[in-house]
Symmetry: C2
Subunit: 383 residues, 2 copies
C-alpha cells in the first residue's frame, strides 16, 4: 500500500525574488523536515514542470535536483502541460508498485511571473495542437469555445459560471498559501473584463509561481513512524486528442471521465464516498465540466448545481470542492498544481487544513488536467 | 520478465521535409507493423524528447501522440536532456514491473535541423547548469575541459581520441539508417577544425533529426507469438550533479559508474559476458570515459585501448562497441538516441543487424547520458 506521509507547499503568487530552483529547494527541504526524513532516505524523485525549457531555456532539471539533494538516485521529470504534477505523482506511484520499501519524493514547480503575460501565454499555448496555435487559439480561447457551447446547449448564462470563482476565492481567503486571499462577489465576476467571451478575468486562473512536494512511501515501518498518513487508493492517467475538433463532445472531457471510471473501480469506492475534492478549475467552466465528468453531477446540471453552493466550505453539502482555493484563487504554477491538489486532500484527510478543515471526510479526490483536456489525472486518497 | 519484441527507427539525418510528429508517427506505425500489433493492443506509451518545447514551442506531446494513435491510454513524456530516450525506456520498464500482461510502446524523437546550429546549441545548453550557461560553456566546451584533463592526466594526445570517430564512422558506413555513411581516417579527424580544444568537428556527434521506437511486453503469449525477442535484464537510471565544479573527478562520469554497478548486479552477469554495447559517444572523449566507467576498461587505459581497435566490427575482440555508428556517425536526434541504442542491441542479439551483425553475442548493453554526465541510463539485454 502506497501512503502519502507529508506535504509542503511554498507560497503561491508573484515571487519575483525567487528562482525556479529556489522554490524547488524550499519545497523539497520543507517536506523532508515535515516527515523527519534525511535526503539519504529518498530513493527516487519525480519532478513535474512544464515551462522552464520554453521560458528560461532550463532543461535537465533532474540533474539540477540531484545537485540540490546531494544524492545519486533515479530522478525523473514528467511533462504533460498543466497535468505535469499529476503525471509526476502517477509515475511515482507506479515506481512504488514496482519497488518495495521505498520512499519517493514528488515535487512540482513553475516559475512564470518573471515573464510578460504574452510570453507565459505563448508558452502555455505550446500545450495546444499546432493547428490551434496557428489559428491563434490560446487556452482562454479554447475554453471560451467550450463555455459558449455548454451555456447554449444547457440554457445557462455567464452568471452560472461566476459561482465557481466566488466559491474558490472564498476558499482562497482561508488558505495562507493562496495567490489571492480576497473574497469576490458575483457582481465582481460579471463586471470583470472579457478574456475570451464568455470567460472573463475573474473566470480565469492566474499566472503564478510556486512549488509543492509530497513524500510517498510503501515502507511500513516508515508509515508507522509518521504522525500523518493517507493511502493512495488510485491514481489514473488517461490521454485524449489534443485538438478540440477531434472530440466527439465539446461539453465533455473524455479523459477525465475515463480516468475517473478506472480510478473509482480501483479504489473500490463510490462517488458519494468522496467528501473532499480538488478539481482542475483553470477556468470556471472547467470546474463545472469536471464535476460532471467525474460523475459527481449529471451532465448538463452543473450550471444549476454550482448555484446551490453545496460544494462551498460551510455550504452544508457532503462534498466540498477546491478548499485550497483551486487554481482560480490558490494560483496555478503549472507544474505545482497537480501536487498541491493532492497535498490539499492529504491535509484535509489528516485534519491539518486549519481554518478550512472539512469534517468527517474519509475519502478525497484530486483531478488535474493538461491542455484543453488532452490529459487527465485522477487520484483518490483515503484514511 | 520484460521483453523487447520489436524495434523501428526512421532514417537519421537532416530531414527537412518531415516534422517532429511525422517522425514520431513513422516510428510508431513502423514498430506496430514489425510486431503485428494494432494500436488498441498498446496499454501505455512513454515518449522521450528534449527540445520540442524550446525549439518549436511544442509541449504536451503526450496528447499529440494520443491523437496519432487514436486511443485513450496513459501516455507520458520523459525529459532528461540527451538521456530522455533512456529515461523513457526506464519508466516503461518500471510500468511493466507494476502491471502484468501489458504491451508498452517507447518512442523517442527529436527534430533539430530546421533550426540554426546556434539555436540548437543554445537549446542543448539548457541541460547545463545556469552558472555554466552564463559562463558561455556549451557542451563542446564542457567535454573539451574533460578531454583536456584526461589527456594531460594520462599522457595521451588528440590522436588517441580520433580512433573513436574512425571506428564509429566505419560502423555508420554499414548502417543504412545512419546520418553519416562515410568512412573517415585518423588524418581526417586530426585535420578537422577545432570546436572546443582539444575536440574537433570529427570528434563531435552531429545535430540530427530522427525517431526510434521499441515495444516492450510482459505478456507471455505475446512474446511466444513474436519472431524476435530479447529480455530486459536491467535498466538503471542514476542522476548526478549538473555542474562539473561539483564533481570529485573530472575524468569519471560517476552516474555511469553507479548505474552500471547496479545494472550488472541486477542482471547477474559480468562485464566479460557483454558481447555488444552502444555507449554514449556525444564526443570522442565520452566513449573512452564510458568504456572505463562502465567497467570494461581500467581507468586511464582507454586512450591506449581504443587504438588497439578491438571494439571495432571485425576487429577480433569479444566486445564490439557502437555498431550503429554511435552518436558520432548514426547521428544524435537527442530524444531518439537512447531508444536507438537499445534497438541496435536488440537487432544484434536477435540476428537482424545485417551487414554489421556481430557473432555470438548473448548479452548487450546500452548506455545513454544526459548533459555532461548529470544523468546516466544503463540497460542490459539478453537472449
Amino acid at each position: 500500500m502506497n501512503n502519502i506521509i507529508g506535504y509542503y507547499t511554498t507560497q503561491f503568487g508573484e515571487l519575483w525574488e525567487k528562482s525556479l530552483f529556489d522554490l524547488v529547494e524550499e519545497a523539497i527541504f520543507g517536506v523532508l523536515k515535515q516527515t523527519n526524513l534525511e535526503n539519504k532516505q529518498i530513493d527516487a524523485v519525480f519532478f513535474g514542470n512544464m515551462l522552464a525549457g520554453v521560458l528560461e531555456n532550463n532543461l535537465h532539471s533532474t540533474s539540477k535536483i540531484a545537485e540540490i539533494l546531494k544524492i545519486n538516485i533515479p530522478i525523473f521529470r514528467a511533462e504533460a502541460a498543466c497535468a505535469s504534477g499529476g503525471a509526476a505523482f502517477n509515475l511515482a506511484k507506479t515506481y512504488l508498485e514496482a519497488n518495495s520499501n521505498k520512499n519517493v519524493l514528488v515535487v512540482g514547480a513553475e516559475k512564470m511571473t518573471d515573464y510578460s503575460p504574452e510570453e507565459a501565454i505563448t508558452g502555455l499555448s505550446a500545450a495546444a495542437s499546432g493547428e490551434e496555435q496557428e489559428a491563434g487559439l490560446t487556452f482562454p480561447g479554447l475554453y471560451g469555445m467550450i463555455a459558449n457551447y455548454y451555456l447554449e446547449k444547457y440554457h445557462y448564462t455567464e452568471k452560472n459560471l461566476s459561482y465557481v470563482s466566488v466559491k474558490n476565492h472564498f476558499h482562497g481567503s482561508l488558505n495562507e498559501k493562496a495567490h489571492f486571499r480576497k473574497k469576490i462577489t458575483i457582481k465582481d465576476v460579471l463586471q470583470s473584463p472579457y478574456v475570451a467571451y464568455p470567460l472573463k478575468v475573474l473566470d480565469s486562473s492566474p499566472i503564478s509561481d510556486g512549488a509543492a512536494a509530497v513524500i510517498l512511501t510503501n515502507n511500513y515501518d516508515m508509515i508507522k513512524k509518521q504522525k500523518h498518513s493517507a493511502i493512495v487508493l488510485a491514481s489514473e492517467v488517461i490521454t485524449d486528442t489534443i485538438s478540440l475538433k477531434e472530440r466527439k463532445n465539446l461539453d465533455e472531457i473524455l479523459a477525465t471521465k475515463m480516468a475517473a471510471d478506472v480510478a473509482f473501480k480501483k479504489a473500490k469506492i463510490n462517488r458519494r464516498d468522496i467528501g473532499i475534492a480538488e478539481v482542475h478549475d483553470c477556468f470556471s467552466i472547467a470546474e463545472i465540466l469536471a464535476m460532471e465528468d467525474l460523475g459527481f453531477w449529471k451532465k448538463g446540471t452543473g450550471g444549476q448545481k454550482i448555484m446551490e453552493e453545496s460544494t462551498m466550505f460551510g455550504g452544508g453539502g457532503n462534498l466540498v470542492v477546491n478548499t485550497s482555493g483551486g487554481l482560480k484563487a490558490a494560483g496555478h504554477p503549472v507544474g505545482a498544481t497537480g501536487i498541491k491538489q493532492i497535498g490539499e486532500i492529504f491535509l484535509q484527510l489528516t485534519k491539518q487544513a486549519e481554518k478550512r478543515q472539512v469534517k468527517n471526510a474519509k475519502y478525497g479526490l484530486a483531478h488535474n488536467v493538461g491542455g484543453s483536456g488532452g490529459t487527465a489525472v485522477v487520484t483518490i486518497l483515503g484514511v
